[in-house]
C-alpha cells in the first residue's frame, strides 16, 4: 500500500482527483453565492451531462456528441503536453487549432478537396504556426507564451478573413460541409451505429486516441523522444551532450502545431459546428487543452481521460437551468481546476512528506521495540 503511494503515477492520479474534487467544490460554493436554491442541482447537471436524458438512446447519442468534441480537445491537449515535455509552454495551441480549422474548412469548401488532403492541409497549417513560435524562440529568444498569444489573434483574424469567402449569405457562419462538400466529410467507418446513428461520429475519435498512443511511444520509447525530454530538462546540458537543442525546440513546436491543427480539422470536417466568421475571441479549445494536459498529469494516456472529463463538464454546462445560472460555470470550474493544477507539485511534496514521516515513526517504533527486547535480553 505504501509502496503504491510512493509511485509517481499514483501520486499524479491522486493529485488530479484532488484538483477535480476541489474544483467542483469551489464551483459549488460559487453557485451557492449566485443562487442558493438550485446550486446542488446545477452542479449535478454539469457532472451528469448526457445522463440528463432518461432515455438510453438519447443518452447514447449525446454521449457521442461529447466524444465528437473530445477528439479535438485531446489533440490540443497532446500538443500542449508534447511541447511541455521539451520545456515549452505551448499556449499557441489555440492559434494552431484555429489555423488547422481554417485550412481544413477552406480546402473543403473553396477548393473542393477530399477529406484526406484537407486533414493534411490542417496539419501543415498548424505546423507552420508552431514553427513560427519555434523559430522565434530558438533563434530570437522570444518568450513562447507571448509570441503564441500574438499568433492566436493573428490566426483568428486571418481565419475570419479567409473564411468570409465561403460563408452563408444570410448568416456569419461558413457553409455546411455536409451539403456543399460531401467528399470532405470524415468517413464514419460505421462507428455511428454504436452511438444510435449519431452522424457526427467519425474516424476522428479513434484517430485522436491513436495519436495519444503514438505520442506516448515517441516520448518514452525512442531516442528522438529522449533527446526532446533532455532538452526540456536542461537546454545547456543537452547541447553539451551534442543534441541539437535549437532544432529540437523547432521540431517539437512543429509537431505540437501539427497536432493542434489536426484537432481543428477533426472537429470541423464532421460538420458538427460551422466557423463563425465574425468571432472576436479565440476558440477556447486550445486553452481547455492546457487544462486537460495538466489534469492528465502530463501523461499522454492520462490525457485521454482528462480530455474526456474536461469536455464532459463543458458539455454538461449546457444542461444547467438557464433561469438561474449561465453555461459558463463549466468554464469557471475548468479554469479553477487548472489553477489548482499549479499546486500539484506542492500536493505531491506534501504526500511524500507524510509518507516519510509515517515511515520514520514506524522505523522508530521498530527500533524502540528491538531496544526494549535487547534490554530484556541483557537483564536475563
Amino acid at each position: 500500500m505504501k509502496n503504491l503511494l510512493k509511485k509517481d503515477g499514483v501520486q499524479s492520479l491522486i493529485a488530479s482527483l484532488i484538483c477535480i474534487l476541489l474544483g467542483l467544490l469551489i464551483g459549488y460554493i460559487v453557485l451557492l453565492f449566485i443562487n442558493p436554491t438550485g446550486a446542488g442541482e446545477a452542479i449535478l447537471e454539469v457532472v451528469k451531462n448526457f445522463f440528463h436524458y432518461s432515455k438510453p438512446s438519447l443518452q447514447l447519442k449525446n454521449f457521442g456528441n461529447t466524444l465528437v468534441k473530445t477528439a479535438p480537445l485531446l489533440m490540443c491537449a497532446l500538443s500542449v503536453l508534447f511541447c511541455y515535455k521539451v520545456g515549452l509552454f505551448n499556449i499557441g495551441a489555440a492559434g494552431q487549432y484555429v489555423a488547422g480549422s481554417c485550412a481544413a474548412i477552406y480546402c473543403a469548401l473553396k477548393l473542393g478537396w477530399g477529406w484526406l488532403p484537407c486533414l493534411l492541409a490542417a496539419v501543415v497549417a498548424g505546423a507552420v504556426f508552431g514553427v513560427a513560435v519555434g523559430l522565434l524562440k530558438a533563434w530570437r529568444n522570444v518568450n513562447e507564451v507571448i509570441s503564441g498569444i500574438m499568433l492566436n489573434w493573428i490566426g483568428l483574424y486571418l481565419a475570419n478573413m479567409l473564411l468570409s469567402n465561403v460563408k452563408e449569405v444570410a448568416s456569419p457562419y461558413t457553409l455546411h460541409i455536409k451539403t456543399e462538400a460531401t467528399g470532405a466529410l470524415l468517413p464514419s467507418l460505421g462507428l455511428e451505429k454504436l452511438f444510435n446513428g449519431n452522424q457526427y461520429i467519425t474516424l476522428a475519435i479513434p484517430l485522436s486516441v491513436l495519436a495519444a498512443i503514438a505520442i506516448s511511444v515517441v516520448l518514452d520509447r525512442t531516442k528522438f523522444g529522449y533527446e526532446l525530454k533532455a532538452t526540456g530538462l536542461n537546454r545547456n546540458a543537452a547541447r553539451y551532450c551534442g543534441m541539437a537543442e535549437k532544432r529540437n525546440i523547432i521540431v517539437s513546436l512543429a509537431i505540437g502545431g501539427a497536432l493542434a491543427g489536426l484537432g481543428g480539422a477533426l472537429l470541423y470536417l464532421t460538420d458538427y459546428e460551422q466557423w463563425l466568421c465574425t468571432g472576436s475571441s479565440v476558440p477556447g479549445m486550445g486553452f481547455n487543452g492546457i487544462a486537460a494536459a495538466f489534469l492528465g498529469g502530463l501523461n499522454p494516456i492520462g490525457t485521454v481521460f482528462s480530455s474526456y472529463f474536461i469536455q464532459h463538464i463543458t458539455s454538461g454546462g449546457a444542461f444547467v437551468d438557464k433561469t438561474m445560472y449561465c453555461s459558463q460555470i463549466s468554464d469557471l470550474i475548468s479554469s479553477i481546476i487548472i489553477y489548482l493544477c499549479g499546486f500539484v507539485l506542492f500536493i505531491k511534496y506534501a504526500m511524500n512528506n507524510m509518507i516519510a514521516k509515517r515511515e520514520n515513526r514506524a522505523a522508530q517504533a521498530v527500533s524502540a521495540g528491538t531496544e526494549d527486547a535487547e534490554k530484556k535480553g541483557g537483564e536475563a
Binding site: I149, Y157, T323, Y325, S335
Partner: protein, 313 residues
C-alpha cells in the same frame, strides 16, 4: 486626425498602466502572465461601480469611486497569483494562464448572475455605463480628453520614482535579480514579491477599466480584453523593463491599435481597400516583429520566473 490622436493616447494609456504593472511584478521576480485576467476583473469592478452610480453623482466622486473599485478588485484578484506563485512556489506560467481563463469565466458568470437577478429575461453579460462614463471625459475642441491619460502619466512618474528613488523599489528589484543576496542582507523576499504582484494587480485593474471605457458605452465580459494583457507584456519587453522606455513603446503600439478603430476616417486608407481584419491584426503582427528584434539582448530581471527557495544559494 484628432480622432486618431485621441485613440492613440487612450490605448497607449492602457498599455502604459498594464505594462508598468508587469514591470513592477517582474522586477520583484514574478512573471505576471495573468495580467489579462486581472484586467478583466478590474474592469468588471469599475464597470459595475459605474453602473451602480447615478448620473447625478459629482464627476470627481464618480471617477474616484470607479478607480478605487477597479484597483481593489485587481489587487484582491492578483492575490490568487501571489499566493500560488510566492507562497506555494507553483509554476508561474500555469498559474498565470489559469488566472487569465478564470478572470474571463468569473467575470462572465458574475455579471450574468447580476443581470439575471435584476431582470430574469436578461441573460447577457453586458454592462452599460453610458451616462456615468461622461465623468471621465472632457471635450476640448473636438478632442475627447480622457482622465486616464493623466492617470497613466501619474502612474508612470510614480513607478519611476518608486523603482529608482526609494529604498523599497531598490530592494524590490534586488529580489528579482538575486533574491538570495537580498535575503542575506535582511530583505524579506516573500513580502517583496507579494508587494510586486499586488502592485501589478492594482495597475492591471486600472488598465482594465481604462480599456473598456476607451471606445464603447457598454461591455460584454465574455469577450475578455482581446489579448491586451499580453500586448502590454510585449510592450514591457520592448521597453526593456524600464518605465520611461515602456511609455514610448506604448505610444507606438497604441497608434497601431488606434488605426483599427479609425482607419475608415482616412480617404486614402479606405481607397486602399484593405480588409478590416488586417488592421485588427496589426498590433499583434507589429509586436511579433518587435519582439523578434529586441528579445535577443533582453535585460530581463535575472531571477524572474524562478520560485524563491531559501535553501538555494
Amino acid at each position: 486626425m484628432l480622432l486618431l490622436l485621441q485613440y492613440t493616447l487612450i490605448f497607449a494609456s492602457v498599455l502604459i498602466l498594464v505594462a508598468l504593472g508587469g514591470c513592477v511584478s517582474e522586477h520583484s521576480g514574478v512573471i505576471n502572465l495573468g495580467l489579462e485576467g486581472i484586467m478583466v476583473m478590474g474592469a468588471m469592478g469599475g464597470a459595475l461601480t459605474l453602473r451602480a452610480l447615478s448620473s447625478g453623482t459629482s464627476p470627481l466622486l464618480t471617477v474616484l469611486l470607479t478607480l478605487c473599485a477597479a484597483v481593489l478588485v485587481g489587487v484582491v484578484y492578483s492575490l490568487l497569483l501571489a499566493v500560488a506563485c510566492v507562497s506555494f512556489k507553483a509554476d508561474q506560467t500555469i498559474v498565470g494562464t489559469a488566472v487569465n481563463m478564470l478572470g474571463v469565466a468569473a467575470a462572465t458568470v458574475i455579471v450574468k448572475a447580476l443581470n439575471t437577478a435584476a431582470n430574469p429575461d436578461d441573460v447577457s453579460s453586458a454592462v452599460q455605463y453610458a451616462a456615468t462614463k461622461k465623468a471621465f471625459l472632457k471635450n476640448i475642441g473636438g478632442f475627447e480628453f480622457n482622465w486616464f491619460m493623466v492617470i497613466a502619466l501619474l502612474a508612470l512618474a510614480a513607478v519611476f520614482v518608486l523603482l529608482y528613488k526609494t529604498k523599497f523599489g531598490l530592494r524590490l528589484m534586488a529580489c528579482g535579480e538575486h533574491p538570495q543576496a537580498a535575503a542575506s542582507v535582511g530583505v524579506n523576499v516573500y513580502k517583496m514579491r507579494y508587494a510586486g504582484v499586488l502592485l501589478s494587480g492594482a495597475l492591471g485593474g486600472l488598465g482594465g477599466i481604462c480599456y473598456i471605457l476607451a471606445g464603447t458605452s457598454e461591455w460584454r465580459f465574455e469577450n475578455g480584453v482581446a489579448g491586451f494583457g499580453f500586448l502590454a507584456l510585449a510592450v514591457m519587453i520592448f521597453g526593456q523593463w524600464k518605465p520611461q522606455r515602456i511609455a514610448l513603446v506604448a505610444l507606438l503600439f497604441g497608434f497601431f491599435r488606434a488605426l483599427s478603430n479609425v482607419y475608415f476616417g482616412f480617404d486614402w486608407l479606405v481607397k486602399a481597400n484593405i480588409p478590416g481584419a488586417v488592421y485588427n491584426m496589426m498590433p499583434y503582427v507589429i509586436s511579433l516583429l518587435v519582439l523578434a528584434f529586441t528579445s535577443k539582448r533582453s535585460r530581463a530581471p535575472k531571477a524572474e520566473g524562478i520560485p524563491y527557495d531559501k535553501g538555494m544559494r
